[in-house]
Amino acid sequence: MINFFSKIIIYFYREYKTSMIGLNDLFVNLVFFFLSIFIFIFSIGSDKEILEITGIGIIWSLLLLSSTLSLKKYYDSDFNSGNLIMMHMNGFSYELIALIKVVSNFIFVQIPFLISIPIACLFVNIVFQKIILMLISFIIGSLILSCLGSISASMNLLNKKNYSLGSIIVMVLSIPVIIFSVGIINNEESFLSLIKILFGILFIFIAITPWFSAICIRLAIQNN
């Protein structure tokens, strides 16, 4: 069992090394996120009240769009290089590989956005109390986005011709996440009930993502 966990840690270390090497990609994602916020501000105008009302929605939508930018990196390189097979042959089931990928996507892709959210909130005039609610909703929401990313990226392994299909799937499935995440921030009185719903969505995705992604990976390997 100790050996098994140490293997997981070694794999995470490799993911960490890969993401550190790809730091410029992460930087580009963050630049895309902030530039998009500026574009929204320029197009809407600098009216503080309008920005305060629309800001949370803008930030959440852009977080979603930014996270879809890194979908291609999810499984593609490991699949093409045969590393998914190598991981499997070293004792990792495809379900576990998917779960590890979700966690590493959350740590190495979503966490940098988490850090940048307070800065983005300042640009759109969101008050401090709402920034905290935004961070709480993003921690849960980004885990759901990581799960969604895993599902769509694994589906993309089966459909190499049309990559935007994966992004569309993420966007469609993330509509409830956006509704409840924005709702948490705008309706503080129903915070508890909405966060319970968000946790419910998270647990559903954590439950289905490994199995669904593993089926897609297995099928993609069979068809390759």
Partner: protein, 202 residues
């Protein structure tokens, strides 16, 4: 030992190969040969349960590999026809990743010796993306020593290698078989070290 009975593989209704029997006893070196598209890689992947055969079963020491696939994998080293090493990591980083990941007990001195034998010692800290295809292939092949497994399954192990490296790898196969290991490899090049040939040509 690895035993495969009456293997058949179909893709989209087309039979790629059929009636294939493989018996990789300890000490045996099996060459799988065939023209392009004859199903060499497919056969290797079928032996590893990566692909599902239409008919036939694969056994490892008398047990169907599907009953405990990871027990089979613990004893198997598979070298693919494409590089699996991380292009952004150095030779040493990749080697230590494989060593730790396969729980190999190989010492640092032995790793240095492998690098020397394969003439990779000068590139140990070089990133893979800057290496030639032959050097990457040699690094991939170093896994057969590093992982210390009984059964070696290799897909085109001699592609992109110079004659000196082919000799080294061939000798390594022979040494492994003498030590009770088994080698199954698919190749267009025949180094004449095999005990058995499985031809997939129709």
């Amino acid at each position: 030992m690895l035993l495969a009975n009456n293997l058949q593989f179909k893709r989209q209704g087309l039979t790629i190969f059929e009636n294939i029997n493989v018996a990789a006893n300890p000490g045996k070196i099996i060459l799988i040969k065939g023209n392009n598209g004859s199903g060499k890689t497919t056969l290797l992947k079928t032996l590893l349960n990566i692909l599902e055969p239409a008919e036939g079963d694969v056994f490892w020491f008398g047990k169907n590999i599907k009953t405990d696939i990871f027990k089979f994998y613990i004893n198997t080293c598979y070298i693919m026809d494409k590089p699996t090493s991380n292009r952004d990591m150095s030779i040493l980083e990749n080697i230590y990743f494989w060593k730790k990941f396969s729980k190999s007990t190989i010492s640092d001195q032995e790793i240095i010796r492998i690098l020397n034998v394969l003439n990779l010692q000068n590139y140990a800290k070089q990133k893979i993306k800057f290496l030639s295809l032959g050097e990457i292939k040699k690094l991939e092949l170093s896994r057969i020593i590093i992982e210390q497994k009984k059964l070696w399954i290799l897909d085109e192990p001699f592609s992109n290698l110079d004659s000196n490296s082919i000799d080294i790898i061939s000798k390594t196969f022979i040494d492994h078989s003498k030590n009770g290991g088994s080698v199954v490899f698919a190749s267009h090049y025949n180094p004449n070290i095999h005990n058995e040939i499985i031809s997939l040509d129709k």
